[in-house]
Symmetry: C2
Subunit: 280 residues, 2 copies
Amino acid sequence: MTAAIETVSQWTSHGGTQGVYKHVSASCQCDMTFSAFVPPQAKSGPCPVLYYLSGLTCTHANVTEKGEFRAAAAKHGIIIVCPDTSPRGAEVPDEDVYFFGTGAGFYVDATESPYERHYNMASYVSDELPGIINSAFPANPDKQSIFGHSMGGHGALVTAMRNPGKYRSVSAFAPICNPSETEWGANAFSKYLGAGQSAWRAWDSLALIEDGGRLDEILVDQGEADEFLESGLRPWLLEEACKTAGIALTLRMQPGYDHSYYFISTFMADHIAWHAERLK
Amino acid sequence: MTAAIETVSQWTSHGGTQGVYKHVSASCQCDMTFSAFVPPQAKSGPCPVLYYLSGLTCTHANVTEKGEFRAAAAKHGIIIVCPDTSPRGAEVPDEDVYFFGTGAGFYVDATESPYERHYNMASYVSDELPGIINSAFPANPDKQSIFGHSMGGHGALVTAMRNPGKYRSVSAFAPICNPSETEWGANAFSKYLGAGQSAWRAWDSLALIEDGGRLDEILVDQGEADEFLESGLRPWLLEEACKTAGIALTLRMQPGYDHSYYFISTFMADHIAWHAERLK
């Protein structure tokens, strides 16, 4: 049984329906909000689903308003689902920084108090939310893919590697490739997962690859003018790990582009077309 | 001599440059902010310019973030310029309603005190801003067109009619076709232009057409689920006036669409392609 889903708002757009929905999440023990675009092709049958995981500080709204994904999704007949980046609410523990707590769930399942009750974004994104989508939307449950930006780009890589066979394809915009070795990730992982770095390896894309995690292929776009390139993203580490592991990574360095939605929206249609090929 | 233009922010996007700029406006006697997208084609020569006038409550930012115009502008090699909707600043007279004053300049030149000093959006949009664009951007001054949404859709129609030969083409999303007969317009016109309705006729698209104003052709998209269709927009009045006057209006009623950017962004690429044909 799926819990009740409340329609927060709905618009006709690009021939389909863009909606924002709310439900009580069992994984996160709070209300969770997500957006979903259902393309016009859904009128004649179930459509593949592409999950988009957002970056630090975002909600579903940033990509829904600025991501420019609907034209391509309507062209290829793909449902686009955009979850929130963390649990939220008065009862959810938080800190007053942008890179931890609210807006910064890092797509892990927390084990440490006081975070383990609510911060279970991994289960939410890979299990609970697809359950809702597959039962309440015109979705083909056998055809799903995943992508995302920054913290969410990393979340897409990790979610796909931790769930072999669940996603047809995975891509990322400017992913945090090795969060354990960044200030953002080390802070979050130590609080969500404990101080022992061995527990972090199951939630870090680079460590996962080193420990045998595999993907058939990965598409990554990365802006060369990204202000977080050296301090937080470091795609060259992913490139090296994929080379060693024999994973087909297409890493496209994009001159002049930064970390914003002006970058993401530029390559959005490309990524959707790439996933569409693999969701056929 | 053009006054100094300050670059507020700039991003690489869709192969071109999206910027936000600020300058002291002679028409509006205050700082004015606008956005401009310069497509990649500008590297090899001057490009046509398409001005987008926004609706009530908006600034340059709404369409810049949500309008999804850059892909089409980059494809067709067109500069897109998005001005603000009114003068702004501590010294600019205002009222605490959304349909007058700040965010609601209605693209007129005010004649009444205390508005006549700052509220000169007509001169700003049709004269001062093109002067800046043509001198500071890689623009072809002989090729400009204009479009807009709601108050700005009407602004585009009026600006083009009041400046014969200045614009190659004009289109609108959900324009306020006959503002004099709406609560929004009557309130604004009485304060900007005075209580005598005869002065309003020079700033109302329907009255302008009745009084001999002409355009070669007009493209209008209008959502059938638009919440302001009856109370504020009334495209059937424009249809009738154009029919009587022999103006080639293409009015496309779009089932299911409302007044939001989810509607505008759906038909944005169509409008840009239509203007591109006429800017060749």
